[in-house]
């Protein structure tokens, strides 16, 4: 009997059981791959955010140093304290230099002197000028003032320049470090909150560069985009969803909208350059043109979202409105549209968030200009926040790296707020019928 069972081929059950271990192992492996993929995605996100924040948080502080400034009319070259033109044209950098010379009388060599002057930002002289112009009584007095330090000093204080590296291999000489330590030891050099970064326009000097002009440019551009794309997007969605007959034309429009949503953004830039700027002769670098191009780009997003919102309004609402004698237009504008509005607004905010982060088409439209002034209108030359980030990322100074990261943090902050608003709107007003 035993011999017989041994020689019979294994039953199906046995075959299945024999493979079970392998199959379960494979099952576990597959599951682990899935978890690994999700974790990897999270790790990428975390690395990205960490690298930005760790590089950028220090830009919100800036090194200031205390100088003893003697407002000597002779150094300034002011003969008549009542002469406004003389005051505004006076030699303020000379004041800073004189103060530094008084601080370190032992520096006599011409070259060393020039390096010494370099530890104070060139913005300090402007600040002094501002002060004297506001209050000419300062002339002849001596004041202890906190002024901006140079960006290299700032980098050293923040520890981005390694003191332990050999002198020839670092951006700062031992001499300079000695001067800086002199200030640090006396408590006359410290990190303060960086208001310049938030209130100034662009500058070639990192310590004087800020994002205000870029933010204003972004807001103006978004304003143009919003005021064009929202009405047009909603109108298009209403027509396609409520009025359009189903024929080849509306089919064509639909296919078109879906395709436009996937056209590379840089192609929209080419369109703007060839049509708006070259053909219609609109101004370069202007938020108006940027906003118009971004409108064309965000329209598909808004139209698709708005159509989904209209679709979610149940037909009973429409029938009820028509039943009590409303015209079709009244039915749409008095009943359907208000109910679909939260969904449409959510889609619009998401479209605006996209537009805020867009860079490539704006490069084509000349919004890469070096903009110091804060733009005042939609036809003034302007740049936008992402383009500012791009420009700074190209700058060689070490101090611009932290500023770029900080600008990215501000940009991401805006995006988080906008998306949170969209989520809130959806949660608050979403109705299930």
């Amino acid at each position: 009997m035993n011999n017989q069972t041994a020689s019979t081929p294994p039953s199906t059950m046995e075959k299945v059981s024999a493979g079970m271990g392998r199959r379960y192992a494979r099952e576990r492996r597959f599951r682990v791959y899935g978890m690994l993929a999700v974790t990897l995605g999270m790790v990428f996100l975390a690395t990205l955010l960490f690298s930005i924040v760790s590089k950028g948080y220090s830009a919100f502080q800036q090194t200031y140093m205390e100088l003893e400034i003697h407002f000597d009319p002779e150094v300034l070259g002011i003969q008549d304290p009542n002469n406004a033109a003389q005051i505004s044209g006076a030699d303020y950098p000379g004041l800073v230099k004189a103060s530094l010379r008084a601080e370190f009388p032992e520096v006599s060599n011409r070259r060393d002197k020039r390096t010494l002057y370099g530890i104070v930002s060139s913005g300090a002289a402007f600040e002094l000028r501002q002060m004297v112009m506001q209050n000419p009584a300062l002339l002849g007095t001596t004041q202890r003032l906190w002024v901006l330090a140079d960006d290299d000093v700032d980098m050293l204080v923040k520890g981005h320049i390694d003191r332990n590296v050999e002198e020839s291999g670092r951006r700062m000489s031992d001499l300079q470090i000695g001067w800086i330590d002199h200030f640090l030891d006396a408590g006359r050099m410290e990190l303060r909150f960086n208001t310049v970064f938030l209130t100034a326009g662009d500058s070639r000097e990192p310590e004087l560069a800020g994002i205000r002009s870029a933010i204003t440019g972004s807001l103006l551009t978004l304003l143009v985009t919003l005021s064009l794309s929202f009405p047009i997007g909603v109108a298009a969605a209403v027509y396609l969803e409520e009025f359009a007959p189903t024929n080849r034309w509306t089919d064509l429009i639909e296919v078109n909208i879906n395709n436009l949503a996937a056209v590379p953004s840089i192609v929209f830039g080419l369109l703007g350059l060839a049509v708006f700027i070259n053909f219609f002769g609109m101004p370069r670098s202007a938020p108006l043109v940027g906003g118009m191009v971004l409108t064309l780009m965000t329209l598909p997003t808004i139209i698709i979202a708005a159509r989904a919102a209209l679709k979610s309004v149940p037909p009973s609402i429409r029938e009820a409105a028509l039943g009590i004698g409303a015209s079709k237009m009244q039915m749409v504008f008095h009943h359907v549209l208000p109910l679909a509005m939260p969904g449409m607004l959510t889609g619009t905010i998401i479209g605006m968030a996209q537009a805020l982060g867009e860079t490539a088409p704006l490069l084509m439209l000349g919004m890469v200009a070096f903009i110091v002034d804060i733009p005042g209108g939609v036809t003034d030359p302007a740049t936008v926040l992402p383009v500012q980030i791009y420009l700074w990322a190209d700058s060689p100074e070490r101090a611009f790296v932290e500023r770029t990261s900080a600008a990215i943090m501000v940009l991401l902050g805006f995006l988080v707020v906008m998306n949170a608003l969209a989520v809130l709107l959806r949660k608050r007003f979403e109705r299930s019928w």
């Binding site: 995605g41 359009a244 015209s327 084509m364 990322a393 770029t404």
Partner: protein, 461 residues
């Protein structure tokens, strides 16, 4: 008058005409609304539309053609020796004139009397034009509003008229999508055709060398420039390939895990977090690639003795892949969800494990949808600009080595077009030819992908 003030006055006129029209309807009906065909507000809107629309149309046309017309008139008024200059020189003269008008300085120092006279002429014409525009548009607005106001009768179908106008606006809005596409096609096509007049199509499509430097003088060294786009296509493909190698496995596996395995709580947290990756602006990825990933790859490459370029295709492709992960995962998530539960149940009933069900039943069933999603992702990778502009190189090398530096179509478009440029050099026009290529390829990919996805959806509905 400033254009903004003009618009403001026009808006005020429109609002006034609304109330006038509304009142008129009430007067006509002796304050008895029932006698009117439409509600009084429709009569108001009717008048307001007649006030605003014709004036706005005139303003728009005026603004589009004013500059051209004024320029032509100024040219006609120039002395003969200036008027007969070649086009490029004439443009310089015109720029000088504009500068003088704006209070700036002409390029050649002190302007000649002829230029000064032309500038005065220009300024004079501009002020006449501005004045005429104000008068014409405001007069037209008032006139058409008054005419509309006079036609108001009890039995007038004001609501129908207003609704027709609104419907016209709706139709016009939905046509903008088509106008945009036509605009894109025409703008890149025309400039490309001009480009192909100077550089033959075959040289462009099959040439192996890309160096778009055009000489300023004809006798300069290397004056011809080479416009062979093959290295750009290869570079674009290489970076996109790397990106897809990162994005497809990670995106697909996380979609499978999140839709088939993960607990609802995990899914509720992990899915939005993954989608954050899609919301981050590309310029941020570019910065990340150029300042974090590229040095990392170069340093780890030199550790194991590899010579890695600091602008390697690998860095750009890797980061682009990260950006595309959520794109792949959310599209695959949708199609995996669309596979009917009955198919899974059938597979479980036959004794298959979960992973076997997914691999042998769900994925094959969802494959067309997934392929469509991947195609969309490819078209996004090809068209992606900022990451490659910031992290990939400018040198057009014909290589498939991911550690070497390559350049892409989008990088070249940006480098050719950023900054001041003339619209008649092949260098600038080449950007439009590249744009045409880019648009065509992505359009074809999109159409195929959307078609596949749509067909697939119908299959299980």
């Amino acid at each position: 008058m400033q254009i903004s003030t003009l618009l403001f006055v026009l808006a005020a006129l429109t609002i006034a005409s609304y109330y006038l029209g509304r009142n008129r309807s009430l007067v006509v009906a002796d304050r008895n609304i029932r006698l009117l065909h439409s509600l009084p507000s429709y009569y108001g809107l009717f008048t307001a539309i007649w006030c605003a629309i014709p004036a706005l149309v005139v303003l728009l046309l005026w603004n589009s053609f004013e500059g051209h017309l004024v320029t032509q008139l100024v040219i006609a008024g120039l002395p003969d020796e200036l008027r007969n200059l070649p086009d490029t020189r004439l443009n310089l003269v015109l720029n000088d004139i504009r500068n003088i008008v704006a209070g700036g300085v002409a390029s050649g120092g002190e302007p000649t009397p002829a230029l000064r006279e032309a500038a005065a002429h220009y300024a004079h014409l501009e002020s006449i034009s501005a004045m005429a525009m104000t008068v014409v548009s405001l007069a037209l607005a008032s006139l058409s509003a008054v005419l509309a106001w006079r036609t108001i009768r009890r039995e007038q179908r004001a609501r129908n008229n207003v609704e027709t106008a609104i419907k016209g606006f709706l139709i016009l809005s939905s046509l903008i999508a088509i106008f945009t596409t036509i605009g894109i096609v025409l703008s890149v096509l025309f400039e490309s055709i001009r480009f192909f007049h100077s550089v033959p199509l075959t040289d462009f499509l099959l040439g192996l060398e890309w160096s778009p430097q055009m000489a300023i003088r004809a006798d300069q060294v290397g004056s011809s420039g080479a416009f062979g786009a093959i290295p750009l296509f290869v570079g674009t493909l290489l970076i996109s390939l790397i990106a897809m190698l990162v994005a497809v496995p990670i995106g697909l596996m996380s979609a499978i895990y999140l839709s088939e395995y993960a607990a609802p709580k995990v899914r509720a947290i992990a899915k939005p977090l993954l989608e954050v990756l899609a919301g981050i602006p590309t310029v941020v990825y570019g910065f990340f690639a150029a300042l974090t990933v590229a040095p990392l790859i170069r340093d780890s490459g030199s550790l194991i003795g590899l010579d890695v370029s600091s602008e390697s295709a690998l860095a750009a492709g890797l980061v682009m892949g990260i950006m595309i992960i959520p794109f792949v995962s959310s599209l695959s998530d949708d199609v995996i969800k669309a596979v009917p539960q009955t198919m899974r149940d059938g597979s479980y009933g036959l004794g298959a494990t979960k992973s076997e069900t997914i691999r042998l039943v769900v994925i094959p069933a969802a494959l067309p949808g997934i392929v469509g999603g991947v195609l969309l992702a490819v078209s996004r990778a090809i068209g992606e600009t900022m990451i490659v502009v910031m992290a990939a190189g400018l040198a057009a090398k014909l290589t498939m080595n991911p550690l070497d530096t390559v350049t892409t179509v989008t990088v070249q478009i940006v480098t050719l077009l950023v900054g001041d440029q003339e619209f008649d050099s092949p260098k600038t026009l080449a950007a439009f030819a590249l744009g045409l290529m880019l648009f065509t390829v992505t359009l074809v990919l999109n159409i195929i992908a959307l078609h596949v996805v749509r067909k697939y959806r119908e299959q299980y509905e």
